[in-house]
């Protein structure tokens, strides 16, 4: 994803990244932890945190078990570890 490192200012002038060039891991940060959660006559929303957790763990496991990630492809998945229920970032220096 070196284009992100070198083209920040250019991107600002151009506007948005084409959706297909967005790394899935960055997208899932936003789609699974962002966006408004509305209640009401829902059929279903993955705002249900348990469902998200189940899924996130499954994502992680499927990445580990599947073939090596192809270098040209955005990495798939969401930040988690199989041995933790919550996914707090590592705090350096503690």
């Amino acid at each position: 994803m070196t284009f992100e490192e070198t083209r920040g200012a250019a991107l600002a002038r151009e506007g948005r990244l084409p959706p297909e060039r967005v790394a899935l891991v960055d997208l899932l940060d936003r789609l699974l932890a962002g966006g408004v959660v509305v209640s009401g006559d829902l059929v279903l929303s993955i705002a249900d945190i348990d469902l998200v957790r189940i899924s996130v763990r499954a994502i992680f496991m499927s990445i580990r078990e599947s073939a090596p990630i192809r270098a040209y492809e955005p990495v798939r998945g969401y930040a988690t570890r199989p041995d933790r229920d919550s996914y707090e970032p590592y705090e350096p220096g503690d």
């Binding site: 932890a33 899924s55 998945g77």
Partner: protein, 296 residues
């Protein structure tokens, strides 16, 4: 099937009616559905129909475990939100929010008009930027043969080793009076300790650098939020992520923000800019129990 009980209404985003999307056709939505606008009470909801045999509760529980399905769905959701956000202020909705029908979405717009209006006012004229800061590779395990990519575990086990090393070291000195001041093993342990201390110091500095960057960028942004660090195995980078920040920035300050990111780069660690994004990380209704307390 006259009432089409087999379909639901998938909600992507909500915008204000006066800024209604006027551009060309919106992209196809989830499952190839045609995206349409439902206007009510001065708001517009962007929706498409989805088959409930795929988007009912039980099918979704299974589908969410399917990475290919999740990627396809996430990208389709994103395409629609982006297309709307290019033209109007928009409040994106959480992935996979499905209503039983258009009438329920219309009712939502009426009932929550005030909340959506406030949420729209917060993000209007603003864009989200993402900034990820990685530890320099030198901040991590740098001995040959040591595992890379799991510095948290590596550091923990190193600390444990360091603790034992210190005890042995003391015992060695107490029992070693009159002998050579440093046996080879002791010297090795001391080097290990220095190495460990050096690395912990490097970690502290890396963490402090991430805090400085977050602080500097937050001062340009109108709001900021920290996402969880991405696991090295998922980010595709061996270094640990020290900061996974989201920043809501006035549109006219976007260039300034991108420049600030460039200037915050240092030799000792990588900084990545992504965006601009639709304001996913800052789309919050006032009473939905969302991350409002995290917003600064």
């Amino acid at each position: 099937m006259a009432a089409d009980p087999g379909s639901g209404t998938y909600l992507y985003a909500v915008a204000a009616e006066e800024g209604q999307h006027r551009g060309g056709a919106l992209p196809r939505g989830i499952a190839g559905g045609e995206v349409r606008a439902i206007g009510r009470a001065g708001l517009v909801a962007y929706v498409s129909s989805v088959p409930l045999d795929q988007f009912g509760e039980e099918p979704l529980r299974r589908s969410m475990e399917d990475l290919d399905w999740l990627e396809e769905t996430a990208r389709a959701h994103h395409r629609v939100v982006e297309a709307v956000a290019r033209e109007v202020a928009v409040v994106p909705v959480r992935l996979v929010t499905v209503y039983s029908g258009d009438a329920q979405v219309g009712a939502l717009l009426e009932e929550r008009y005030e909340d959506f209006a406030r949420a729209l006012a917060r993000v209007a004229g603003r864009q989200e930027w993402g900034v990820k800061v990685y530890a320099a590779s030198g901040d991590e395990a740098d001995e040959p043969g040591e595992r890379r990519g799991r510095p948290a575990e590596a550091a923990a086990s190193e600390r444990a080793t360091g603790g034992r090393g210190a005890e042995e070291d003391t015992a060695g000195e107490a029992g070693g009076a009159g002998k050579e001041p440093e046996r080879p093993g002791t010297a090795y342990l001391k080097r290990r300790q220095q190495h460990i201390r050096g690395r912990e110091e490097a970690w502290r500095q890396a963490g402090a650098r991430a805090e400085r960057i977050h602080g500097a960028l937050s001062s340009i942004a109108v709001a900021s939020r920290r996402h969880r660090a991405q696991d090295p195995q998922l980010s595709g980078r061996p270094e640990s992520m020290l900061l996974n920040g989201a920043y809501l920035v006035d549109r006219e300050r976007g260039e300034e923000f991108a420049r600030a990111v460039e200037e915050l780069r240092e030799p000792g660690g990588d900084v990545q800019l992504t965006g601009p994004w639709a304001p996913y990380s800052f789309a919050v209704l006032d009473d939905d129990g969302g991350p409002r307390e995290e917003l600064t």
